[in-house]
């Protein structure tokens, strides 16, 4: 455990699946240096196989007694997909443009697919970064003890001096959020943009999130939105709490979605388009209470009554979503030489 813990809350009812976060992360960290196939941030359509493919079936995490569970290192070709490139230099020559490696799987392969039957189909978006767990199974699994948790903010980092590329961490992470860098032969992962945090800038994925779904702050800071959403109102839950790693990324679970239709096309009152049982499989049994609490607040608001919780989720000021204890740098016209 670290002295303090930075955390992120993602409100899935506001996520629009645009992947601006994914792209922001890519240009900030992973468009170079052997990281091209990594998605420190990804957004997947749920229900769906996700990224890497079927990661929830690949093991890792802890069992009930606190022992590491077996895990699998996903395959570059079958589970992640290679970062394919194109012959776009040949457009000029009148060529057809195609991927130079045949795309068969990728980080957003099942976009907008979901489950169910039209017109009662359903899906939602699940953005994922490293959970910077309080009990990281990657750290526990590393034979070199190359993974450490920063004391000042709980960010989990791989010490690249020590990492030998054994990949035990990849197998052990139940979220499959550590990646192998084939150029360096070392593991790398989301660093919660700590160099940005240190300058008063939120992580790129959160700062650039146009859906305004991501709150960042210290869990012990009672003024921070993350504290209020996780501790005070208890509407944000960790993903797969049963994995036993105590994740520090929390999710406001999705509301049931528009009403389902009966055979004649009439909406069924009170119906759940997204089955709550499915949400329970992701967020644990607490999801029932959270959804009830959210619905009750929404009903209040529809009647014109105030709701501090919904005001928090609305996030009137973008900057208030981030409580990092430092001001954000401004814009000054440079004096030209």
């Amino acid at each position: 455990m670290s002295t303090r813990q930075l955390a992120m809350v993602m409100d899935l009812n506001k996520c629009i699946g645009c992947q601006t976060c994914t792209v922001a992360c890519k240009t900030q960290w992973t468009n170079r240096n052997g990281r091209e196939g990594m998605y420190w941030n990804n957004v997947e359509t749920k229900p769906g196989a996700g990224f890497p493919k079927k990661w929830e079936e690949l093991g890792g995490g802890f069992d009930d007694r606190g022992n590491l569970k077996e895990g699998v290192v996903p395959s570059r070709y079958g589970d992640y997909g290679v970062p394919w490139d194109y012959n776009s230099d040949e457009i000029l020559k009148g060529a057809e443009v195609h991927a130079q490696t045949e795309p068969r799987v990728g980080p957003n392969w099942d976009e907008d697919v979901g489950a169910g039957d039209f017109p009662n189909s359903h899906f939602f978006y699940l953005p994922r970064i490293c959970n910077h767990c309080s009990n990281p199974s990657c750290l526990a699994a590393c034979p070199r003890q190359a993974i450490f948790k920063r004391d000042q903010d709980g960010i989990v980092l791989v010490d690249l001096n020590r990492c030998e590329g054994n990949r035990q961490c990849i197998a052990a992470c139940p979220y499959k959020k550590i990646y192998f860098n084939p150029k360096l032969s070392k593991s790398e992962k989301c660093i919660f943009c700590f160099p940005r945090i240190e300058q008063g800038l939120p992580p790129a994925c959160a700062d650039q999130c146009v859906g305004r779904i991501r709150f960042v702050g210290y869990l012990d800071d009672e003024n921070s939105q993350v504290h209020k959403l996780v501790k005070k109102y208890q509407v944000a839950l960790g993903l797969h709490p049963e994995y036993g790693t105590q994740p520090n990324v929390y999710y406001v679970p999705p509301l049931p979605g528009p009403r389902r239709f009966d055979k004649t096309g009439k909406p069924i009152e009170g119906s759940e388009r997204i089955p709550t049982a499915y949400l329970e499989s992701l967020f644990g049994p607490a999801v029932h209470d959270v959804l009830k609490r959210l619905s009750a607040e929404l009903d209040k608001r529809k009647k014109g009554q105030p709701s501090e919780l919904l005001d928090l989720l609305i996030a009137y000021k973008h900057q208030d979503m981030f409580q990092l204890g430092k001001p954000r740098p401004g814009f000054k016209l440079p004096v030209l030489k």
């Binding site: 009812n13 506001k14 629009i16 699946g17 645009c18 601006t20 792209v23 890519k26 240009t27 900030q28 468009n31 170079r32 240096n33 394919w84 490139d85 194109y86 012959n87 776009s88 230099d89 457009i91 009148g94 057809e96 443009v97 795309p103 990728g106 980080p107 957003n108 979901g114 169910g116 039209f118 017109p119 189909s121 899906f123 003890q145 010490d159 690249l160 001096n161 030998e164 150029k183 943009c193 160099p195 240190e198 700062d207 650039q208 146009v210 305004r212 979605g257 528009p258 096309g265 009439k266 608001r301 529809k302 009647k303 919904l310 973008h318 401004g330 814009f331 016209l333 440079p334 030489k337």
Partner: protein
């Protein structure tokens, strides 16, 4: 392949931005693992890893003169302020500046705006398809054989062709246009200015891309109306009809879900279960192309249950106006016996302009029991809709039939527009149309109640509605529904795309009328360039026409051809739309028209084009067929300003980072236009010096100049305003100086605010732009009783244009699509999440977040029946051709439709056969009609190309 770690580090250093930083501070950890026997005792200092990441961050995010600002000026219209970072003269990265102010404590701010595409422009600007040098074709068109040439050679080619066109065939032989890839106030003005100076043909973009709202213009007098997106937050009911803001309005979509948290009910009406539906309170799965039927069924319930407000309809709509039952024409003062006892003579005196009796309309005043002229029409002396004032008191009857005496004594039966409309509505009762619309009557009832009973109810209509053959009627039906809701200004109503009132830019893009371009109808000119009639003949059967128009194929075609003749070339026209068959020399920018256009357009176009010069920052499918290629700058290298449309109240600034190095030999459009003008003047003067023939210097143009001629020896002086206006930076400075709504701002204030300026209060068109409230149109109508910009001054239900009467569309109605029933699937190609039309479609970063190629969404039951598995190569086909692409099996797709994000360039498909090859279209007579009241050709009244009017079959390859 095996490689050592040392090699890996070498690659890393070669890989780019990080490399330079590495020399100063180690940008990366050492690659050799450290051998430690007892880890707990001898844990090395992790700080070197942390420092490596910090160094990498410093290298990517520059500082000081390594920061510029930009937005992405393509046709998403979103327009978001970005910080752009450079290192060693090269752009490393961008992020939203996220500095827009919060307007009021109870209103979410607009930050951070932006999207997935804008956030990776830095990667695309150095991609392999970037155009770096001017080039000239040396093989047959499309063969891909090029020769690099100098800028002077390229400009000479362009100027010589334009000059030869002017000199030998006249201004109408030249076609000068900047397409949807550069839609901005400052940058795009360059090519508009050039075209206006030369009198060249320019088509209307919104029409040819099919993004117009002519059906809304018919009702409201203008197509671009509505609100800034923050207004959605204030609604009680917000409907999104035929659109998918979570995908195509990414920067603004947060307002929907914040509105939901604020107690608003969010309703989405689309044929497919799209990304916006997932968070909605109600999704209405309407069948593609039957939006008008659904809208009128809602109106039918509103009328049947009397959910409307009669006072609103009486003042703000034409529903009480009188119509002759024999001719179906509106009763006009010009034909009425003014001396008849039951005509209110005082109202004539009070309201009607003496010389405009034809534009004055009557109603029956229940207070006086007399026929009264209504105030506020085009022929009215008073620009007010007020029914009661010091001098008059009108309570117009909404219902009734009367006998009216015409001049000369003839008596005719008259009734109200409302009576006729109610009769038409009978056919649209929810139970009667439910098999067409696919919408259960219980939903129609719910909508009728929600939309009328909520205090603030807003219907936002997307472009999909107008992309059907009878889509104009559907747009009109939805607009009429908003009129029946009785909502204006702060109460909601109709939202298409708000447009700000920006004055002072005419001097940038034109010459204040001294010289004008030849403004062509977008949908007609493109249809004719591509021989669209031939494809329509192939695709649509007689039965298709009869179903969608009530006329035979031969009759309908004949009428269309007659109207086309009336709009052709420089001849004056009354009907039809202007277009020029004389065009030969094309100077085009950022316009990938072979991607966009339908059927066999490419063949027809290439046959007509004698010369094609194409400017763009990247190689598009169209560029392959050009004769000369001109490499242009991208938004990060250009100076620019952008405001409209009004999704927000900011004008964003493009301010290149001072330390940025040019990419290849690319130039801005302003520089290119200035060079062309200089060369053209030189060519003309040189020819005149030899010939002494005045015609070499002065091009006669009686119809599109005030002076009668275009002086070629004064081109540079005119174009550059005596040298003041030559570059993109000049254009930005001109705009800051001349636009009232931008004041008081300078480059410095816009920079230090974060790359934008806030429009002042003068930007509102029909409402004040308050400092602390969202904007929505028509507050001036609601509170001050201003007239609408329509013939009657009122929201217009009734159009008595002869073509509309003949088509039984004089009252709002809906008609089914003409798409062939022979093929089972309607091809739905909505705006994409991953590109703005074709821009950014070839980005590897974005393609890796898709399937890496075009993929069509197929319903699982359809796939099963046809033996198609997810990821299979399939073919879509109809009489126009066959297109191969990947199948993506998804229950989000309806069983009777195939959903394919649009924008794919043909070169992304096997055999370079893009999906638009399968798309046919037919010109709609009502969209061609012209010359009635406010339905006069211009930016408010043109038509749409119909991208969704096609069916296809599907099979596994």
């Amino acid at each position: 392949m095996s490689f050592s770690r040392r090699d890996a580090l070498k690659n890393l250093v070669a890989a780019g931005v990080v490399a330079k930083a590495a020399s100063a501070t180690p940008a990366r950890a050492e690659t050799k693992p450290v051998r430690i026997d007892d880890a707990r005792k001898a844990y090395p200092d992790p700080k070197s890893t942390e420092e490596a990441y910090r160094a990498e961050f410093r290298a990517v995010r520059g500082a000081g003169d390594e920061r510029g600002f930009a937005y992405h000026c393509v046709n998403c219209q979103g327009n978001c302020a970005f910080e752009v970072w450079t290192k060693d003269g090269k752009v490393t990265r961008e992020n939203q500046s996220a500095a827009y102010p919060q307007l009021a404590p109870n209103l979410p701010d607009a930050n951070p705006r932006g999207c997935n595409k804008g956030s990776q422009h830095s990667q695309v600007m150095y991609e392999k398809d970037r155009l770096l040098y001017p080039m000239k074709r040396v093989g047959p068109r499309g063969s891909g054989q090029w020769q690099r040439i100098s800028w002077d050679e390229a400009i000479t080619e362009v100027a010589q062709h334009l000059y030869d066109g002017l000199r030998e065939k006249g201004p109408a032989s030249n076609y000068v246009h900047v397409g949807a890839g550069v839609l901005t106030e400052a940058r795009a003005a360059s090519i508009k200015r050039l075209g206006a100076l030369l009198g060249a043909v320019r088509p209307y973009i919104a029409s040819y891309v099919g993004d117009m709202f002519p059906g809304v213009s018919a009702v409201y007098g203008e197509g671009n109306i509505g609100c800034t997106y923050d207004f959605v937050f204030t609604t009680n009911i917000a409907v999104f009809w035929g659109c998918n803001p979570n995908v195509s309005r990414i920067p603004d979509a947060h307002y929907l879900w914040e509105a939901k948290y604020n107690g608003s009910k969010i309703i989405v009406i689309t044929p497919e279960y799209n990304a916006t539906c997932i968070h909605a309170d109600l999704w209405v799965p309407v069948k593609a192309g039957f939006d008008g039927h659904l809208a009128l069924s809602i109106v039918q319930r509103i009328v049947a249950k009397k959910l409307y407000k009669p006072e609103f309809l009486k003042e703000y709509t034409d529903l009480p106006l009188l119509v002759r039952t024999d001719t179906k024409e509106l009763v006009r003062l010009s034909e009425v016996d003014r001396k008849a006892k039951d005509v209110d003579a005082k109202s004539i005196e009070q309201f009607a302009k003496a010389d405009h009796p034809h534009d004055n309309f009557l109603a029956f005043n229940t207070k006086t029991k007399k026929f009264t002229v209504m105030p506020g029409s085009e022929g009215s002396q008073l620009e007010t809709l007020r029914l009661t004032d010091m001098d008059w008191d009108i309570d117009p009857a909404l219902n009734g039939s009367w006998t009216l005496t015409l001049e000369g004594g003839k008596k005719v039966k008259v009734t109200t527009v409302f009576e006729l409309f109610k009769k038409e509505l009978e056919a649209f009762a929810p139970e009667k149309v439910k098999d067409l619309t696919g919408v259960h009557p219980a939903i129609v009832d719910e909508l009728a109640t929600d939309l009328t009973q909520a205090k603030n109810a807003l219907i936002t209509m997307g472009f999909a509605v107008g992309k059907h053959f009878n889509g104009m009627l559907s747009q009109r039906a939805i607009a009429v529904l908003t009129a029946m809701m009785g909502k204006l200004g702060p109460n909601g109503g109709m939202n298409t795309e708000n447009e700000w009132n920006i004055t002072g830019l005419e001097g940038l893009s034109g010459f204040s009328g001294k010289y004008v371009h030849r403004f062509a109808s977008g949908f007609v000119s493109e249809f004719m360039l591509g021989d669209g009639l031939a494809d329509a003949d192939t695709l649509y059967s007689d039965e298709d026409f009869r179903r969608g128009t009530g006329l035979s194929k031969a009759d309908y075609r004949k009428q269309v051809v007659e109207l086309l003749e009336q709009g052709k070339n420089d001849e004056r026209y009354k009907e039809g739309k202007p277009y020029w068959t004389t065009v030969e020399n094309f100077l085009l920018f950022a316009d990938s028209r072979f991607r966009r256009n339908k059927g066999h357009y490419q063949k027809g176009f290439l046959e007509k084009a004698k010369f094609i010069a194409y400017g763009d920052f990247r190689m598009s499918d169209f560029g392959v067929f050009a004769d000369v290629l001109l490499p242009c700058k991208t938004p990060y290298e250009s100076w620019d300003l952008r405001t409209n449309p009004g999704y927000h109240r900011y004008a964003n600034l493009a301010y290149p980072s001072p330390s940025l190095k040019p990419v290849g030999e690319s130039k801005s459009e302003w520089e290119i236009a200035t060079l062309v003008v200089e060369k053209l003047e030189a060519l003309a003067k040189a020819r005149y010096a030899k010939s002494k023939d005045e015609r070499d210097l002065a091009i006669v143009d009686k119809t599109h100049t005030q002076t009668g001629t275009r002086r070629l020896d004064e081109l540079v002086k005119e174009f550059t305003k005596d040298g003041a206006l030559r570059t993109d930076k000049d254009a930005v400075e001109y705009a800051l100086e001349h636009v009232d709504q931008f004041k008081p701002n300078t480059l410095k204030t816009a920079y230090e605010r974060g790359g934008f300026l806030q429009l002042n209060e003068k930007a509102g068109k029909s409402s004040p732009l308050y400092a602390d409230r969202p904007y929505n149109t028509f507050e001036n109508q609601l509170y001050l009783h201003h007239r609408f910009d329509t013939l009657t001054g009122r929201l217009t239900f009734y159009v008595d244009h002869p073509l509309w009467i003949a088509a039984n569309a004089h009252v709002p109605t809906a008609k089914p699509p003409i798409r062939p029933k022979r093929h089972p699937f309607v091809l739905i190609t909505p705006h994409a999440r991953w590109s703005i039309h074709s821009t950014y479609k070839t980005s590897p970063i974005l393609l890796r977040l898709q399937r890496g190629q075009p993929a069509v969404m197929v319903n699982p039951e359809v796939a099963k029946a046809r033996g198609i598995a997810d990821g299979d190569l399939v073919k879509m086909y109809n009489e126009l051709g066959e297109v191969k692409l990947m199948a993506k099996v998804s229950p989000s797709a309806p069983p009777d439709g195939l959903v394919l994000e649009h924008g794919w360039e043909p070169f992304m498909y096997p055999g370079r056969k893009g999906h638009n090859l399968l798309v046919g279209d037919m010109l709609n007579l009502l969209e061609l009609s012209d010359g009635w009241g406010h339905l006069k050709f211009g930016t408010n009244w043109d038509g749409n190309q119909h991208a969704y009017e096609t069916t296809v079959d599907l099979a596994k390859v």
